[in-house]
Every structure is written in structure tokens, then in C-alpha cells.
């Protein structure tokens, strides 16, 4: 449990950050600005209508009246907008007692809560997470309070794998929905933003936890089916470790298809980037995307101009 002095200090800090900023009734500025412009425009139109009527320009007067009518309708909507803003109840932020309850509730949901004052971070740790039989280990969920209520949910949180089981070839991914320690909240995004804006810390942490304990195969940084795989050196496709074969020439991983193709042709292929720099830049030659080499790994076919 957080010691009481730390709990009080944190609650005080959060209360200050979440306290609503005084919002004068002159807001929203844009609506007022546009209303002023429209009023000037309307006065000009009225003057032109008077002039047209005095000169008996019937058609011109009718057209100007139509224009003025449309403009007045727009102004009416703008006035409604400003009135609604004036009538809206002032935003209510949690007071210190609510923050204390919130922090204690966070402890009851997640166990130990750690506070890192220098980083302005509140941290909890999840249980080890396993998705579709892929163990991903426990995660630390860190909330940075410095952004206050206006912080974007996904950016305010960092999700760090404590015993990372990263997919082959992606050191930046620790979970199908976490890249560079940032969670892509997907369906939870709006609710997460709202929870942070309202100062509902527990709800925000629970939403992050809910995303971590679920898997969306249609939008993952790396699909769990390919978690234990590697990339085929020939076609670049990700391959499971069990399905990978090794090239006899360069020890690169190959998928089944490329291995069979290579066996049939009696050659192995190596991606261009694996060739020595000198071979890539021979004057007067152009290289195909993949240069062929024989089983011994000696460079072979070039296309001469």
C-alpha cells in the first residue's frame, strides 16, 4: 500500500493538474469571431438592399434579400452555439478525497502501485499475459500524469514488457498491440481519453489491461501465428521457426516454397543486401534484385548493359 504521506502528496498533485482552467464565457473564440464578421456582412447587405430598392432595382433587391436571409440563418446557428456554451455546466474535476479513493481503488485492483516522482509516473504491474498459447510475460503499465486531463490516452500510457517475448525480427514489438512501448488502444481509445479527462484513473488502467489481455488478429503489429517465426531471406515472408530451412550456401532462413524452388533450379539465391559492397557497385553492370550464387556461395550472374 502507498504510505499515507505519498498518497496525500500524489492526490494533491493530481488535484492541481486536473483542476478546471477558468474558461471565460467569451469562448468559443471562433464562434464569436465569425459572428462579428457575419454581422458586418449583414449590415453591408442591408445597406445594399436599401440602395437597390431606392433605385427600383427589383431583381437585385430580391437577390440581396435572399442572400441576407441565408446569412441570418447561419448567424442564428452561431448564436445558438454560443448560448449552449454559456449554459453548459462548468467541468467538474475530482477533488483530493476522490483522488485518494481512486488511488486506493487502483491498489485494490492491481496490487502494488509505484510512484516515480521524477518521471511523473504511476506504475502497476499485470499478471503474466498469455494470448493464444503465446506467453508474453507480465507488463508494467505506466501512466504519465504530466499531460493532465487533456493528455491523449495512448500517449499518456507506456506499456513495458518485464519479461519480453518478442516476435522474431521485431525488437520493438512486445505484444500484438504494443510497439515501442506504446499501446495502440484500438476500440478503447475514446473511452481511455474520456477516463483520463474525467480523472478516472482506475478505469483508464483497466481499459489498458483489457486491451493487453485480448488479441485482435485483424490489426496486430505482428500476428501471434507468426510470433515464433523469422523472415525468409529470399522472399521476405515471415516464417515459423519450425518451418524454416537453412540455405546451404549462406545459412539464411528460407521458407518451404523458396527452398523447393532453389532445389529444383540447383541454385540458391541471396538478397542483394547480403552481397559484398564491391560486388554491388561494379561499374557498367546492373544487378537484378537478387543475385544468384551457387551452393558454395560464390557470386554469379550479372546483367551486363
Amino acid at each position: 500500500m502507498l504510505p499515507i504521506p505519498i498518497l496525500l502528496r500524489l492526490a494533491r498533485r493530481l488535484e492541481m493538474l486536473w483542476a478546471p482552467k477558468p474558461d471565460p464565457p467569451t469562448r468559443p473564440e471562433r464562434a464569436w469571431g465569425s459572428l462579428r464578421t457575419q454581422l458586418t456582412e449583414a449590415e453591408s447587405l442591408r445597406w445594399r438592399i436599401e440602395q437597390a430598392t431606392a433605385r427600383r432595382l427589383v431583381c437585385a433587391a430580391a437577390s440581396l434579400k435572399q442572400e441576407l436571409s441565408t446569412l441570418l440563418k447561419v448567424m442564428g446557428r452561431r448564436i445558438e452555439e454560443i448560448r449552449a456554451h454559456c449554459d453548459a455546466p462548468p467541468p467538474r474535476a475530482p477533488d483530493r478525497c476522490e483522488w485518494i479513493r481512486e488511488l486506493r481503488h487502483l491498489e485494490s485492483e492491481f496490487g502494488t502501485v509505484t510512484v516515480r516522482w521524477t518521471d511523473t509516473v504511476i506504475r502497476v504491474v499485470t499478471e503474466p499475459i498469455e494470448l493464444k498459447n503465446v506467453p508474453l510475460g507480465p507488463f508494467a503499465i505506466e501512466f504519465n500524469w504530466s499531460g493532465g486531463p487533456s493528455a491523449s490516452g495512448s500517449r499518456a500510457f507506456e506499456v513495458k514488457a518485464l519479461k519480453p517475448n518478442r516476435p522474431a525480427g521485431r525488437s520493438d514489438v512486445t505484444h500484438p498491440h504494443v510497439e515501442d512501448d506504446i499501446l495502440c488502444a484500438g476500440e478503447a481509445k475514446e473511452a481511455l481519453d474520456q477516463a483520463i479527462a474525467d480523472g478516472r484513473l482506475v478505469d483508464a488502467f483497466q481499459l489498458v489491461h483489457s486491451v493487453l489481455t485480448n488479441y485482435n488478429p485483424h490489426s496486430a503489429y505482428v500476428s501471434l501465428n507468426e510470433w515464433d517465426g523469422s523472415h525468409c531471406a529470399q522472399c521476405g515472408r515471415r516464417i515459423r521457426s519450425d518451418d524454416a530451412s537453412s540455405c546451404e550456401g549462406c545459412d539464411s532462413d528460407l521458407c518451404d516454397e523458396c527452398r523447393v524452388r532453389g532445389t529444383l533450379r540447383g541454385v540458391r539465391r541471396t538478397p542483394l543486401r547480403r552481397l559484398p559492397r564491391t560486388l554491388r557497385r561494379l561499374p557498367g553492370t546492373t544487378l537484378p534484385r537478387f543475385a544468384r550464387h551457387d551452393r558454395a556461395g560464390t557470386s554469379g550472374l550479372f546483367q551486363l548493359p
Binding site: R101, H105, S108, P176, H177, E179, L183, C184, A185, G186, E187, A188, E190, A191, L192, D193, Q194, A195, D198, R200, V202, D203, Q206, L207, S210, V211, L212, T213, N214, Y215, N216, S219, A220, Y221
Partner: protein, 74 residues
């Protein structure tokens, strides 16, 4: 009676709602999220886990948070 209802499903909101006296947690859930399974949500009343047949009291704080949410990539 009035309750403070926090719904973390969809866009998420928190507001006071009027409900009939003596309503249970299960009935409240069915009323607010028809067609959804309670097993897919974390339901807390006054910040505590609660049985489905618990009768809600005026001024209770009830929060409903989905436990199965699909994340995305970028």
C-alpha cells in the same frame, strides 16, 4: 432514485442516471447494455466487485468496463 453511472464501453461517459427503486445490478446492466454478456465486463459498485443480485442504493457509483477490447496497430 439517482445513481452515478460510469460506462467505459464505446466512447465512455460518466453521468447521473435515474433508475427505478430496488433495481439489481443484473437488471441495471441489462437495461443499459442490452444484448451484452455481463461476463465480458468488470462491474464495480462503489469501487467494489459486486454480485449480480445486489440491490442498488440511491447515490451508488456503478462502473461498467469491458474486459474484452480489441487493440489495433497504429
Amino acid at each position: 432514485m439517482k445513481l452515478f453511472y460510469i460506462n467505459n464501453d464505446g466512447a465512455g461517459f460518466a453521468d447521473h442516471v435515474e433508475v427505478e427503486d430496488g433495481i439489481t445490478v443484473a437488471a441495471f446492466f441489462t437495461e443499459k447494455l442490452p444484448g451484452r454478456k455481463a461476463d465480458d465486463f468488470l462491474i464495480r459498485v462503489n469501487r467494489l466487485p459486486t454480485p449480480a443480485d445486489q440491490v442498488l442504493q440511491p447515490g451508488d457509483r456503478i462502473s461498467i468496463t469491458p474486459s474484452k477490447i480489441e487493440g489495433a496497430s497504429a
